[in-house]
């Protein structure tokens, strides 16, 4: 019990009221877990029969949990300003429109090259307005996938293709590619990711984690 609350627990008895009203500060000590078991049980029992103290406790409701966490720190101003400028710098990628899933080829268990080593998966596809090729290499101990590829646009001056690496409702990485553009994403991401290609003609090509 602190100097502030010491001696404040006992109060005069009113007609029809229980004999002792713990102070507001007693409740705070209780919330901080600083009262011994017997005293804490006493306060809990008191609540059952005292509407006034129940109200006191309700007033303190916002502080439950918050007192244990401690103060939150403000970020440096420059970092904050950079974050506030994000919408002015680049548009947010859209959610997949008319998604079309692409299957990875069956793994070649007798062949040569990266796709046959059991370590990487490769796919190449023709789609409306573009050709794409992708190779995904699973993590080697550090949780980091390497997903790389290239796109070719049927009309070289067409709008860029947006590449989005996502997992559930998180976009983890993005790239914008013009004709012949290459990308290499190295991300720590758990299995179940998707790689989206937002095509110049509209629509989205979706590749799912080949090892999920």
């Amino acid at each position: 019990m602190t100097a502030r609350s010491r001696g404040k627990t006992a109060r005069s008895r009113g007609a029809g009221e229980p004999p002792v009203h713990p102070s507001l500060l007693d409740w705070m000590q209780w919330l901080r877990g600083r009262l011994d078991g017997a005293r804490a049980a006493q306060l809990q029992a008191h609540l059952q029969e005292c509407a006034r103290c129940t109200k006191d406790r309700e007033l303190l409701a916002p502080f439950y949990g918050a007192v244990r966490v401690g103060p939150l720190s403000a970020p440096p101003r420059r970092a904050r300003e950079r974050v506030r400028r994000l919408p002015a710098q680049r548009p947010a990628p859209p959610a997949p429109a008319r998604p079309h899933s692409v299957r990875w080829p069956a793994r070649d268990v007798r062949g040569f090259g990266p796709a046959s080593t059991g370590e990487s998966a490769m796919v190449a596809r023709s789609c409306p307005g573009a050709e794409i090729s992708v190779m995904a290499t699973p993590p080697r101990g550090d949780g980091r996938w390497r997903i790389e590829g290239r796109v070719w646009l049927h009309q070289p001056d067409a709008r860029a293709i947006g590449v989005v690496l996502a997992h559930d409702d998180h976009v983890l990485a993005t790239a914008e590619l013009r004709d012949g553009g290459q990308f290499a994403l190295e991300e720590i991401v758990s299995t179940g990711w998707t790689l989206e290609f937002h095509l110049p003609a509209g629509g989205t090509l979706v590749l799912k984690d080949p090892f999920a």
């Binding site: 602190t2 100097a3 502030r4 507001l24 500060l25 705070m28 406790r57 309700e58 007033l59 303190l60 409701a61 916002p62 502080f63 439950y64 949990g65 918050a66 007192v67 244990r68 966490v69 401690g70 103060p71 939150l72 720190s73 403000a74 970020p75 440096p76 970092a79 904050r80 950079r82 974050v83 506030r84 994000l86 919408p87 002015a88 548009p91 947010a92 990628p93 859209p94 959610a95 550090d142 949780g143 980091r144 989005v164 996502a166 559930d168 409702d169 998180h170 976009v171 983890l172 993005t174 720590i188």
Partner: protein, 203 residues
């Protein structure tokens, strides 16, 4: 504690009656995310104001040094900005931010071993993040937001009474606030009532 569960439910239902922003537009998280998708930079700034301390504090508490925590802070906001069109549960945005911060911090810690001395790896492992802790962090953010809106002198008094780690005596509080010792109790009760009203419309 049973009361914590009750408080948590009350907090969830409050988000439906969040006070509008300074220009009368809805300012609950779902409305703000929708406005951000439509290119409303003001809505983005309201979100940043609301959650910047939460994100930065979580980054610091994972054990990263300050410089790296700033990088993680910025990356989390970039991830949110990129993900805005696909957030499935806008009411769970604080959780989304906290978990994302922990994951990014973990990634940075794994790649660069940039934790401060004495911090155990399990502190930055996102899997070791209990729901109760997420709730407490968000509750602290919510309380800080409420106190900011409440303003001084009430906010100052309540901070001294309930949030100051050194737990100053009434005499010290009286000296620091200029209040008479005998008036602290009644003012405290009035301030708590006002805070409660403010928090009812805080997201």
């Amino acid at each position: 504690m049973a009361e914590e569960g009750r408080g948590s439910g009350a907090q969830a239902s409050r988000s439906d009656r969040t006070a509008p922003d300074s220009e009368g537009a809805p300012s609950d998280d779902a409305s703000l995310l929708l406005r951000c998708q439509q290119g409303d930079e003001r809505a983005w700034n309201v979100l940043v104001d609301r959650y910047e301390r939460l994100v930065y504090s979580v980054a610091l508490r994972t054990g990263l040094d300050r410089e790296v925590a700033v990088d993680v802070f910025q990356q989390v906001w970039l991830e949110l900005y990129r993900s805005i069109a696909r957030i499935r549960d806008p009411k769970a945005l604080p959780r989304w931010l906290i978990v994302s911060t922990r994951r990014l911090a973990y990634k940075v810690a794994v790649l660069g071993s940039r934790t401060v001395d004495g911090v155990l790896e399990e502190m930055v492992d996102p899997a070791a993040l209990p729901d109760a802790h997420i709730e407490e962090l968000n509750r602290r953010r919510w309380l800080e937001e409420g106190l900011r809106r409440l303003g001084d002198p009430c906010a100052r008094l309540l901070r001294l009474l309930f949030l100051e780690p050194k737990e100053p005596s009434y005499q010290e509080i009286a000296q620091r606030t200029g209040l008479a010792i005998g008036s602290i109790g009644p003012i405290r009760a009035r301030c708590l009532t006002r805070l409660r009203r403010v928090l009812e419309t805080s997201p």
